[in-house]
Symmetry: C2
Subunit: 157 residues, 2 copies
């Protein structure tokens, strides 16, 4: 390690300096952690939506919606099954397990809160949808509550 004089004083009015090391580590660790479940969350959310709005969730629909190949979907579904989130017979439609249903529900609600929050902030619908798709996985419970509060107080209607 090299010199680290700025870490000594908890200076109250120098907020653009480097944060203390341990805190910095926690920031990046939280991001890496979110990245591990991100894709699985999007899959179960989408599968849940497809079941709800189209009656079944086929790999082909997922591939079309996600903009990836069917082979990629097939491999990811294997992972979803190995984690106990999805159930399926070969060559058949996909279903969510209890656990998958729970994750989908959480993701659906969280996604909706972030999306509505961005709209309320004044962001256009198409941009809000794009940004919400990525942001949702990095929003803590606390921030989610702050967003809900804001939307409740500022939303037209």
């Amino acid at each position: 390690m090299t010199a680290s004089p700025p870490d000594s004083t908890p200076d109250p009015h120098m907020s653009d300096a480097l944060p203390p090391c341990e805190q910095h580590v926690r920031q990046y660790a939280a991001v890496r952690n979110a990245h591990e479940t991100e894709l699985l969350e999007d899959y179960v959310e989408l599968i849940g939506d497809l079941l709800k709005y189209q009656g079944e969730a086929r790999s082909a629909d997922i591939a079309a919606r996600m903009g990836v190949s069917q082979a990629t979907v097939s491999k990811t579904v294997t992972r979803l099954k190995s984690q106990g989130l999805v159930d399926s017979q070969p060559y058949r439609s996909l279903f969510l397990t209890e656990k998958g249903e729970a994750m989908a529900e959480m993701a659906r609600k969280r996604h909706a809160i972030v999306l509505q929050f961005l709209r309320t902030l004044g962001v256009s619908d198409s941009t809000a949808r794009i940004d919400a798709e990525g942001m949702e996985h990095h929003v803590s419970r606390e921030t989610l509550e702050a967003m809900e509060r804001f939307t409740r107080e500022h939303c037209r209607g």
Copy 2:
């Protein structure tokens, strides 16, 4: 593809149905796109901060701050160099190229806007730092401007 009756009408008051397919694809594509540069952005931002606040940016400091092994840093630095973002001699401190400097500056500003926005929203400092670290990479110019506007209008002082 299976049946898709809900996609026919651009129904104005059914906002929780599935978005049209092409838009859905763009959402996920934007996320995948952000993931390609995310880590590089965090690296150049950190390198810039280390140069500014400690005079030099050593791999050991980056490893300590990011909470990863030195081997991981070494490999990522190779990638940063191959993309023309970082310059360095073997076993020496790291420096940013023009291009790296520009990316660091962008990342620094964007990160600061998101962090200050979350604080202004009422999120605690430690949570705001964690969430901002992940959210920053998924915030478009338009959303960034909405955040700045909000902070300007609501910030104490």
